[in-house]
Amino acid sequence: MTTATLSQPTSHRVLRNIGFLALPLIVIVWSLADPTLGREVLEWIPYLASGFMMNIVIAVLAMLLGTLVGALFGILQLVPYRLVRLPVVAYVQLFRNAPHLVLIFATTYIFPFEIVVFGHYLPFPDWIKAVIGLAIPASAYVAEITRGAILSIPTTQWEAAKGLGFSRGQALRWIILPQCLRRSLPPWMNVAASITMGTALASLVGVHELLHAATDASTAVRRLDFTIIAYLVVMAAFFLLCYPISRLTRRLEARFNAA
Protein backbone atom coordinates (compact mmCIF):
# COMPACT_ATOMS: atom_id res chain seq x y z
CA MET A 1 0.00 0.00 0.00
CA THR A 2 1.06 3.59 0.15
CA THR A 3 4.36 3.86 1.96
CA ALA A 4 4.17 4.42 5.67
CA THR A 5 6.42 7.46 5.78
CA LEU A 6 3.78 9.55 7.46
CA SER A 7 4.58 9.84 11.14
CA GLN A 8 2.10 9.11 13.85
CA PRO A 9 2.37 12.50 15.49
CA THR A 10 1.05 12.03 19.03
CA SER A 11 2.68 8.71 19.89
CA HIS A 12 5.94 9.97 18.44
CA ARG A 13 5.89 13.13 20.47
CA VAL A 14 5.16 11.21 23.67
CA LEU A 15 8.00 8.79 22.93
CA ARG A 16 10.34 11.65 22.14
CA ASN A 17 9.59 13.43 25.38
CA ILE A 18 10.01 10.29 27.42
CA GLY A 19 13.29 9.72 25.63
CA PHE A 20 14.40 13.25 26.32
CA LEU A 21 13.83 12.86 30.04
CA ALA A 22 14.84 9.20 30.33
CA LEU A 23 18.36 9.78 31.64
CA PRO A 24 17.50 12.32 34.34
CA LEU A 25 14.52 10.17 35.29
CA ILE A 26 16.73 7.14 35.84
CA VAL A 27 19.03 9.22 38.03
CA ILE A 28 16.14 10.60 40.07
CA VAL A 29 14.32 7.31 40.49
CA TRP A 30 17.47 5.51 41.51
CA SER A 31 18.41 8.25 43.96
CA LEU A 32 14.97 8.02 45.53
CA ALA A 33 15.13 4.26 45.71
CA ASP A 34 18.42 4.30 47.59
CA PRO A 35 18.40 7.36 49.89
CA THR A 36 22.03 6.96 50.99
CA LEU A 37 23.08 7.12 47.38
CA GLY A 38 20.62 9.94 46.76
CA ARG A 39 22.20 11.98 49.51
CA GLU A 40 25.66 11.54 48.06
CA VAL A 41 24.38 12.57 44.63
CA LEU A 42 22.69 15.61 46.05
CA GLU A 43 25.86 16.59 47.90
CA TRP A 44 27.96 16.39 44.77
CA ILE A 45 25.56 18.09 42.38
CA PRO A 46 26.99 21.60 42.98
CA TYR A 47 30.50 20.32 42.39
CA LEU A 48 29.43 18.57 39.20
CA ALA A 49 27.52 21.66 38.10
CA SER A 50 30.64 23.78 38.48
CA GLY A 51 32.37 21.23 36.25
CA PHE A 52 29.64 21.45 33.66
CA MET A 53 29.85 25.23 33.63
CA MET A 54 33.42 24.74 32.51
CA ASN A 55 32.25 22.58 29.59
CA ILE A 56 29.85 25.27 28.55
CA VAL A 57 32.43 28.02 28.87
CA ILE A 58 34.98 26.05 26.87
CA ALA A 59 32.44 25.20 24.19
CA VAL A 60 31.17 28.75 23.86
CA LEU A 61 34.62 30.29 23.67
CA ALA A 62 35.93 27.61 21.32
CA MET A 63 33.00 28.17 18.97
CA LEU A 64 33.41 31.93 19.18
CA LEU A 65 37.08 31.78 18.34
CA GLY A 66 36.61 28.98 15.83
CA THR A 67 33.86 30.86 14.05
CA LEU A 68 35.82 34.09 13.75
CA VAL A 69 38.95 32.38 12.49
CA GLY A 70 37.00 29.87 10.42
CA ALA A 71 34.93 32.51 8.64
CA LEU A 72 38.10 34.41 7.80
CA PHE A 73 39.85 31.28 6.58
CA GLY A 74 36.81 30.27 4.58
CA ILE A 75 37.08 33.56 2.71
CA LEU A 76 40.84 33.28 2.36
CA GLN A 77 40.43 29.82 0.85
CA LEU A 78 38.78 31.54 -2.09
CA VAL A 79 41.17 34.42 -2.69
CA PRO A 80 42.94 34.33 -6.02
CA TYR A 81 46.42 34.57 -4.49
CA ARG A 82 48.09 31.21 -4.19
CA LEU A 83 50.47 32.37 -1.50
CA VAL A 84 47.55 33.15 0.79
CA ARG A 85 45.29 30.37 -0.29
CA LEU A 86 47.58 27.37 -0.09
CA PRO A 87 48.66 27.70 3.56
CA VAL A 88 45.03 28.21 4.56
CA VAL A 89 43.89 25.20 2.57
CA ALA A 90 46.66 23.15 4.19
CA TYR A 91 45.62 24.34 7.66
CA VAL A 92 42.01 23.43 7.03
CA GLN A 93 42.84 20.00 5.64
CA LEU A 94 45.27 19.13 8.42
CA PHE A 95 43.05 20.16 11.29
CA ARG A 96 39.81 18.92 9.82
CA ASN A 97 41.38 15.50 9.73
CA ALA A 98 43.00 15.63 13.16
CA PRO A 99 41.34 13.96 16.16
CA HIS A 100 40.03 16.47 18.71
CA LEU A 101 41.73 14.58 21.47
CA VAL A 102 45.11 14.84 19.82
CA LEU A 103 44.69 18.58 19.34
CA ILE A 104 43.75 18.99 22.98
CA PHE A 105 46.79 17.01 24.04
CA ALA A 106 48.92 19.06 21.68
CA THR A 107 47.75 22.46 22.89
CA THR A 108 47.91 21.42 26.52
CA TYR A 109 51.41 20.08 26.42
CA ILE A 110 53.02 22.26 23.80
CA PHE A 111 51.83 25.70 24.83
CA PRO A 112 53.52 27.24 27.87
CA PHE A 113 51.57 27.58 31.09
CA GLU A 114 52.00 31.33 31.09
CA ILE A 115 52.86 33.92 28.52
CA VAL A 116 54.95 37.01 28.91
CA VAL A 117 53.37 40.19 27.65
CA PHE A 118 55.46 43.34 28.15
CA GLY A 119 57.21 41.77 31.10
CA HIS A 120 53.97 40.67 32.73
CA TYR A 121 53.38 37.02 33.33
CA LEU A 122 49.90 36.17 32.19
CA PRO A 123 48.71 32.75 33.25
CA PHE A 124 47.68 30.50 30.42
CA PRO A 125 45.46 28.01 32.18
CA ASP A 126 44.62 24.59 30.85
CA TRP A 127 41.03 25.32 30.13
CA ILE A 128 42.07 28.09 27.77
CA LYS A 129 44.37 25.64 26.08
CA ALA A 130 41.42 23.31 25.73
CA VAL A 131 39.49 26.21 24.20
CA ILE A 132 42.24 26.62 21.64
CA GLY A 133 42.55 22.88 21.14
CA LEU A 134 38.87 22.74 20.21
CA ALA A 135 38.82 26.09 18.39
CA ILE A 136 41.38 24.77 15.92
CA PRO A 137 39.19 21.97 14.52
CA ALA A 138 36.14 24.22 14.87
CA SER A 139 37.83 26.85 12.73
CA ALA A 140 38.69 24.23 10.12
CA TYR A 141 35.08 23.03 9.96
CA VAL A 142 33.69 26.56 9.91
CA ALA A 143 36.14 27.46 7.14
CA GLU A 144 34.76 24.63 5.03
CA ILE A 145 31.19 25.63 5.81
CA THR A 146 31.90 29.24 4.91
CA ARG A 147 33.63 28.31 1.69
CA GLY A 148 30.76 26.05 0.70
CA ALA A 149 28.21 28.71 1.53
CA ILE A 150 30.00 31.40 -0.45
CA LEU A 151 30.30 29.12 -3.44
CA SER A 152 26.61 28.30 -3.23
CA ILE A 153 25.58 31.93 -3.70
CA PRO A 154 24.69 32.39 -7.38
CA THR A 155 27.27 34.37 -9.35
CA THR A 156 24.48 36.64 -10.52
CA GLN A 157 24.43 38.10 -7.02
CA TRP A 158 28.05 39.10 -7.39
CA GLU A 159 27.27 40.56 -10.77
CA ALA A 160 24.32 42.55 -9.47
CA ALA A 161 26.50 43.93 -6.71
CA LYS A 162 29.23 44.82 -9.17
CA GLY A 163 26.73 46.54 -11.42
CA LEU A 164 25.72 48.77 -8.51
CA GLY A 165 29.31 49.77 -7.92
CA PHE A 166 30.21 47.52 -5.00
CA SER A 167 33.84 46.48 -4.69
CA ARG A 168 34.64 42.81 -4.12
CA GLY A 169 35.10 43.34 -0.42
CA GLN A 170 31.95 45.41 -0.05
CA ALA A 171 29.93 42.88 -2.00
CA LEU A 172 31.25 40.14 0.26
CA ARG A 173 30.54 42.09 3.41
CA TRP A 174 27.09 43.43 2.60
CA ILE A 175 25.63 41.01 0.13
CA ILE A 176 27.30 37.62 0.01
CA LEU A 177 28.16 36.88 3.65
CA PRO A 178 24.76 37.86 5.04
CA GLN A 179 23.22 35.37 2.66
CA CYS A 180 25.73 32.71 3.69
CA LEU A 181 24.66 33.12 7.28
CA ARG A 182 21.30 31.52 6.77
CA ARG A 183 22.60 28.60 4.75
CA SER A 184 25.41 27.82 7.10
CA LEU A 185 23.43 27.96 10.31
CA PRO A 186 22.46 24.27 10.46
CA PRO A 187 25.94 22.91 9.68
CA TRP A 188 27.38 25.44 12.09
CA MET A 189 25.11 24.14 14.81
CA ASN A 190 26.26 20.61 14.06
CA VAL A 191 29.83 21.74 14.59
CA ALA A 192 28.80 23.45 17.82
CA ALA A 193 27.27 20.23 19.10
CA SER A 194 30.34 18.24 18.17
CA ILE A 195 32.63 20.76 19.87
CA THR A 196 30.43 20.80 22.97
CA MET A 197 30.82 17.07 23.24
CA GLY A 198 34.52 17.39 22.57
CA THR A 199 34.85 19.38 25.79
CA ALA A 200 34.61 16.11 27.70
CA LEU A 201 37.98 15.19 26.22
CA ALA A 202 39.52 18.02 28.23
CA SER A 203 39.12 15.80 31.28
CA LEU A 204 41.92 13.62 29.96
CA VAL A 205 44.36 16.50 30.23
CA GLY A 206 43.18 17.46 33.68
CA VAL A 207 40.81 20.33 32.97
CA HIS A 208 38.27 20.56 35.72
CA GLU A 209 35.16 19.91 33.65
CA LEU A 210 32.18 17.68 34.22
CA LEU A 211 33.74 14.31 33.48
CA HIS A 212 36.76 15.20 35.54
CA ALA A 213 34.56 16.36 38.38
CA ALA A 214 32.66 13.10 38.17
CA THR A 215 35.92 11.16 38.46
CA ASP A 216 36.92 13.27 41.44
CA ALA A 217 33.61 12.59 43.04
CA SER A 218 33.83 8.87 42.36
CA THR A 219 37.34 8.80 43.81
CA ALA A 220 36.18 10.53 46.95
CA VAL A 221 32.98 8.59 47.49
CA ARG A 222 34.44 5.25 46.52
CA ARG A 223 31.10 3.56 45.94
CA LEU A 224 30.55 1.51 42.83
CA ASP A 225 26.92 2.53 42.49
CA PHE A 226 27.88 6.16 42.91
CA THR A 227 30.39 5.84 40.10
CA ILE A 228 27.69 4.47 37.85
CA ILE A 229 25.20 7.14 38.71
CA ALA A 230 27.88 9.80 38.27
CA TYR A 231 28.36 8.68 34.69
CA LEU A 232 24.62 8.76 34.16
CA VAL A 233 24.54 12.31 35.47
CA VAL A 234 27.31 13.26 33.06
CA MET A 235 25.45 11.77 30.13
CA ALA A 236 22.19 13.35 31.21
CA ALA A 237 23.82 16.78 31.44
CA PHE A 238 25.26 16.58 27.93
CA PHE A 239 22.07 15.11 26.57
CA LEU A 240 19.85 17.80 28.05
CA LEU A 241 22.12 20.44 26.55
CA CYS A 242 22.74 18.95 23.12
CA TYR A 243 19.49 17.24 22.26
CA PRO A 244 17.41 20.43 22.01
CA ILE A 245 20.15 21.98 19.88
CA SER A 246 20.19 19.04 17.53
CA ARG A 247 16.41 19.04 17.23
CA LEU A 248 16.43 22.72 16.45
CA THR A 249 19.14 22.12 13.86
CA ARG A 250 17.10 19.51 12.12
CA ARG A 251 14.03 21.72 12.20
CA LEU A 252 16.02 24.54 10.58
CA GLU A 253 17.50 22.17 8.02
CA ALA A 254 14.07 20.95 7.07
CA ARG A 255 12.81 24.50 6.80
CA PHE A 256 15.68 25.64 4.64
CA ASN A 257 15.41 22.59 2.41
CA ALA A 258 11.72 23.22 1.93
CA ALA A 259 12.28 26.88 1.11
Binding site: G19, P99, A106, I110, L204, Y231, S246
Partner: protein, 248 residues
Protein backbone atom coordinates in the same frame (compact mmCIF):
# COMPACT_ATOMS: atom_id res chain seq x y z
CA UNK B 1 71.12 -4.64 12.03
CA UNK B 2 70.31 -2.62 8.94
CA UNK B 3 67.07 -1.54 10.59
CA UNK B 4 68.87 -0.61 13.76
CA UNK B 5 71.29 1.73 12.05
CA UNK B 6 68.47 3.34 10.05
CA UNK B 7 66.68 4.07 13.31
CA UNK B 8 69.81 5.55 14.76
CA UNK B 9 70.34 7.69 11.71
CA UNK B 10 66.76 8.95 11.94
CA UNK B 11 67.09 9.67 15.65
CA UNK B 12 70.28 11.63 15.23
CA UNK B 13 69.01 13.54 12.19
CA UNK B 14 65.80 14.57 13.90
CA UNK B 15 67.72 15.39 17.02
CA UNK B 16 69.64 17.97 15.07
CA UNK B 17 66.43 19.87 14.23
CA UNK B 18 65.33 19.72 17.85
CA UNK B 19 63.02 16.73 17.69
CA UNK B 20 63.43 13.93 20.16
CA UNK B 21 62.81 10.42 18.89
CA UNK B 22 65.37 8.72 21.13
CA UNK B 23 62.82 6.29 22.47
CA UNK B 24 62.85 4.56 19.11
CA UNK B 25 66.22 3.16 20.00
CA UNK B 26 64.95 1.67 23.27
CA UNK B 27 63.23 -1.62 23.82
CA UNK B 28 59.76 -1.55 25.18
CA UNK B 29 58.80 2.04 24.40
CA UNK B 30 59.62 1.67 20.73
CA UNK B 31 57.71 -1.60 20.74
CA UNK B 32 54.63 -0.03 22.38
CA UNK B 33 54.73 2.82 19.91
CA UNK B 34 55.01 0.62 16.85
CA UNK B 35 52.21 -1.54 18.20
CA UNK B 36 50.21 1.66 18.62
CA UNK B 37 50.28 2.32 14.90
CA UNK B 38 49.32 -1.21 14.11
CA UNK B 39 46.50 -1.20 16.65
CA UNK B 40 45.11 2.03 15.25
CA UNK B 41 45.19 0.68 11.71
CA UNK B 42 43.64 -2.56 12.88
CA UNK B 43 40.91 -0.68 14.74
CA UNK B 44 40.11 1.36 11.64
CA UNK B 45 40.11 -1.67 9.38
CA UNK B 46 37.73 -3.44 11.73
CA UNK B 47 35.52 -0.47 12.54
CA UNK B 48 34.78 0.54 8.96
CA UNK B 49 32.93 -2.66 8.03
CA UNK B 50 31.38 -2.95 11.50
CA UNK B 51 29.98 0.57 11.32
CA UNK B 52 28.70 0.09 7.79
CA UNK B 53 26.92 -3.16 8.52
CA UNK B 54 25.41 -1.90 11.77
CA UNK B 55 24.46 1.35 10.02
CA UNK B 56 22.62 -0.58 7.36
CA UNK B 57 20.77 -2.59 10.00
CA UNK B 58 19.85 0.57 11.89
CA UNK B 59 18.66 2.19 8.69
CA UNK B 60 16.57 -0.87 7.90
CA UNK B 61 14.95 -0.64 11.35
CA UNK B 62 14.34 3.08 10.95
CA UNK B 63 12.61 2.67 7.62
CA UNK B 64 10.78 -0.53 8.48
CA UNK B 65 7.70 1.40 9.54
CA UNK B 66 7.45 -0.84 12.62
CA UNK B 67 7.56 1.26 15.73
CA UNK B 68 9.01 -1.49 17.93
CA UNK B 69 11.97 -1.64 15.58
CA UNK B 70 12.40 2.04 14.81
CA UNK B 71 11.79 3.54 18.27
CA UNK B 72 14.68 1.82 20.08
CA UNK B 73 17.04 2.59 17.21
CA UNK B 74 15.81 6.18 17.10
CA UNK B 75 16.42 6.41 20.84
CA UNK B 76 19.90 4.98 20.55
CA UNK B 77 20.73 7.37 17.72
CA UNK B 78 19.64 10.37 19.76
CA UNK B 79 21.56 9.17 22.79
CA UNK B 80 24.77 8.51 20.93
CA UNK B 81 24.57 11.71 18.90
CA UNK B 82 23.99 13.89 21.91
CA UNK B 83 26.41 12.57 24.50
CA UNK B 84 30.21 12.57 24.29
CA UNK B 85 31.62 9.38 22.88
CA UNK B 86 34.31 9.43 25.52
CA UNK B 87 31.70 9.27 28.27
CA UNK B 88 29.83 6.54 26.44
CA UNK B 89 33.03 4.60 26.21
CA UNK B 90 33.96 5.03 29.86
CA UNK B 91 30.45 4.16 30.88
CA UNK B 92 30.37 1.06 28.72
CA UNK B 93 33.77 -0.14 29.76
CA UNK B 94 33.55 0.67 33.44
CA UNK B 95 29.87 0.07 34.10
CA UNK B 96 28.31 -2.14 31.45
CA UNK B 97 31.35 -4.34 31.44
CA UNK B 98 31.06 -4.84 35.18
CA UNK B 99 27.39 -5.64 34.79
CA UNK B 100 28.27 -8.21 32.15
CA UNK B 101 30.91 -9.68 34.44
CA UNK B 102 28.43 -10.00 37.27
CA UNK B 103 25.90 -11.63 35.00
CA UNK B 104 28.45 -14.15 33.82
CA UNK B 105 29.25 -14.97 37.41
CA UNK B 106 32.56 -13.22 37.72
CA UNK B 107 35.10 -11.17 35.91
CA UNK B 108 37.13 -14.18 34.91
CA UNK B 109 34.28 -15.38 32.69
CA UNK B 110 33.95 -12.08 30.91
CA UNK B 111 35.47 -12.31 27.46
CA UNK B 112 34.90 -8.64 26.60
CA UNK B 113 38.10 -6.65 26.29
CA UNK B 114 38.64 -2.88 26.14
CA UNK B 115 39.27 -3.39 22.45
CA UNK B 116 35.82 -4.88 22.13
CA UNK B 117 34.25 -1.90 23.87
CA UNK B 118 35.99 0.59 21.61
CA UNK B 119 34.79 -1.28 18.57
CA UNK B 120 31.28 -1.51 20.01
CA UNK B 121 30.93 2.09 21.17
CA UNK B 122 32.69 3.83 18.29
CA UNK B 123 31.29 1.40 15.75
CA UNK B 124 27.71 1.85 16.90
CA UNK B 125 28.12 5.60 17.22
CA UNK B 126 29.29 5.93 13.64
CA UNK B 127 26.69 3.38 12.59
CA UNK B 128 24.03 5.69 13.99
CA UNK B 129 25.38 8.50 11.84
CA UNK B 130 25.49 6.21 8.80
CA UNK B 131 21.92 5.18 9.48
CA UNK B 132 20.78 8.79 9.48
CA UNK B 133 22.54 9.38 6.17
CA UNK B 134 21.13 6.23 4.59
CA UNK B 135 17.64 6.99 5.88
CA UNK B 136 17.80 10.43 4.31
CA UNK B 137 18.96 8.77 1.10
CA UNK B 138 16.10 6.28 1.17
CA UNK B 139 13.60 9.02 1.77
CA UNK B 140 15.04 10.87 -1.19
CA UNK B 141 14.22 7.97 -3.55
CA UNK B 142 11.22 9.26 -5.49
CA UNK B 143 7.94 7.71 -4.40
CA UNK B 144 7.11 7.10 -8.04
CA UNK B 145 10.18 4.91 -8.50
CA UNK B 146 9.12 2.86 -5.52
CA UNK B 147 5.62 2.56 -6.88
CA UNK B 148 6.96 1.44 -10.24
CA UNK B 149 8.88 -1.32 -8.47
CA UNK B 150 5.81 -2.30 -6.49
CA UNK B 151 3.75 -2.33 -9.67
CA UNK B 152 6.15 -4.82 -11.22
CA UNK B 153 5.63 -7.15 -8.27
CA UNK B 154 8.60 -6.54 -5.98
CA UNK B 155 8.03 -7.13 -2.29
CA UNK B 156 8.87 -4.46 0.27
CA UNK B 157 12.14 -6.18 1.09
CA UNK B 158 13.08 -6.59 -2.55
CA UNK B 159 12.34 -2.94 -3.21
CA UNK B 160 14.64 -2.07 -0.35
CA UNK B 161 17.33 -4.44 -1.56
CA UNK B 162 17.29 -3.76 -5.30
CA UNK B 163 16.04 -0.21 -5.60
CA UNK B 164 16.09 1.88 -2.45
CA UNK B 165 19.41 0.83 -0.94
CA UNK B 166 21.46 1.07 -4.14
CA UNK B 167 20.06 4.54 -4.81
CA UNK B 168 20.24 5.68 -1.20
CA UNK B 169 23.77 4.43 -0.87
CA UNK B 170 24.87 6.52 -3.81
CA UNK B 171 23.25 9.70 -2.60
CA UNK B 172 24.47 9.24 0.98
CA UNK B 173 28.01 8.25 0.07
CA UNK B 174 29.55 11.68 0.70
CA UNK B 175 27.98 11.75 4.15
CA UNK B 176 29.17 8.22 4.83
CA UNK B 177 32.74 9.06 3.86
CA UNK B 178 32.55 12.04 6.16
CA UNK B 179 31.40 9.73 8.96
CA UNK B 180 34.30 7.40 8.25
CA UNK B 181 36.74 10.27 8.62
CA UNK B 182 35.12 10.97 11.98
CA UNK B 183 35.49 7.30 12.79
CA UNK B 184 39.22 7.41 12.17
CA UNK B 185 39.48 10.40 14.48
CA UNK B 186 37.32 8.78 17.14
CA UNK B 187 39.57 5.75 17.51
CA UNK B 188 41.78 7.93 19.71
CA UNK B 189 39.26 7.83 22.56
CA UNK B 190 40.33 4.22 23.03
CA UNK B 191 43.30 5.49 25.02
CA UNK B 192 40.96 6.32 27.89
CA UNK B 193 40.35 2.63 28.45
CA UNK B 194 43.86 1.44 27.73
CA UNK B 195 43.44 0.29 24.18
CA UNK B 196 46.98 0.58 22.98
CA UNK B 197 46.27 2.71 19.93
CA UNK B 198 48.65 5.38 18.81
CA UNK B 199 47.74 8.15 21.24
CA UNK B 200 47.85 5.72 24.14
CA UNK B 201 51.26 4.53 23.05
CA UNK B 202 52.42 8.10 22.69
CA UNK B 203 51.18 8.98 26.17
CA UNK B 204 53.14 6.03 27.51
CA UNK B 205 56.22 7.44 25.84
CA UNK B 206 55.83 11.10 26.69
CA UNK B 207 55.00 10.54 30.32
CA UNK B 208 58.49 9.16 30.70
CA UNK B 209 60.19 11.64 28.39
CA UNK B 210 59.80 15.21 27.35
CA UNK B 211 59.07 14.89 23.65
CA UNK B 212 55.42 15.77 23.17
CA UNK B 213 56.04 17.94 20.12
CA UNK B 214 57.97 15.24 18.31
CA UNK B 215 55.21 12.72 18.92
CA UNK B 216 52.43 15.16 18.04
CA UNK B 217 53.94 15.87 14.66
CA UNK B 218 53.96 12.20 13.83
CA UNK B 219 50.43 11.64 15.10
CA UNK B 220 48.99 14.58 13.18
CA UNK B 221 50.68 13.51 9.97
CA UNK B 222 49.58 9.94 10.54
CA UNK B 223 45.92 10.86 10.91
CA UNK B 224 46.05 13.27 7.99
CA UNK B 225 47.50 10.55 5.83
CA UNK B 226 44.88 8.00 6.85
CA UNK B 227 42.06 10.41 6.34
CA UNK B 228 43.32 11.54 2.99
CA UNK B 229 43.42 7.89 1.99
CA UNK B 230 39.90 7.32 3.32
CA UNK B 231 38.63 10.38 1.45
CA UNK B 232 40.39 9.24 -1.73
CA UNK B 233 38.91 5.78 -1.50
CA UNK B 234 35.51 7.36 -0.90
CA UNK B 235 35.93 9.46 -4.01
CA UNK B 236 37.03 6.44 -5.98
CA UNK B 237 34.01 4.44 -4.86
CA UNK B 238 31.80 7.41 -5.69
CA UNK B 239 33.23 7.48 -9.20
CA UNK B 240 32.96 3.75 -9.58
CA UNK B 241 29.32 3.82 -8.57
CA UNK B 242 28.51 6.92 -10.55
CA UNK B 243 25.75 6.20 -13.02
CA UNK B 244 25.84 8.10 -16.29
CA UNK B 245 23.08 10.64 -16.43
CA UNK B 246 22.11 10.23 -12.78
CA UNK B 247 22.94 12.64 -10.02
CA UNK B 248 25.86 14.96 -10.58
Amino acid sequence: MQDMSLTDLFVSLTNRIGLNYEFLATGYEAQIWRDGFITTLYLIALLIPVSLIAGLLFAACLTSGKIWLSAPVRGFIELTRNTPTLVQLMFSFLVLNTVVSNMLGGAQNNPLSPFFWVVAVVGLHIAALHAEAIRAGIEAVPASTVEAARGIGFSQLQILRYVEVPLAFRSSLPAIVNNLINLVKLTTVGNAIAVSEITYASIMVWTQRDNVVSLMIVILLFFSAINIIVARIGLWVERRLAVPGYGL
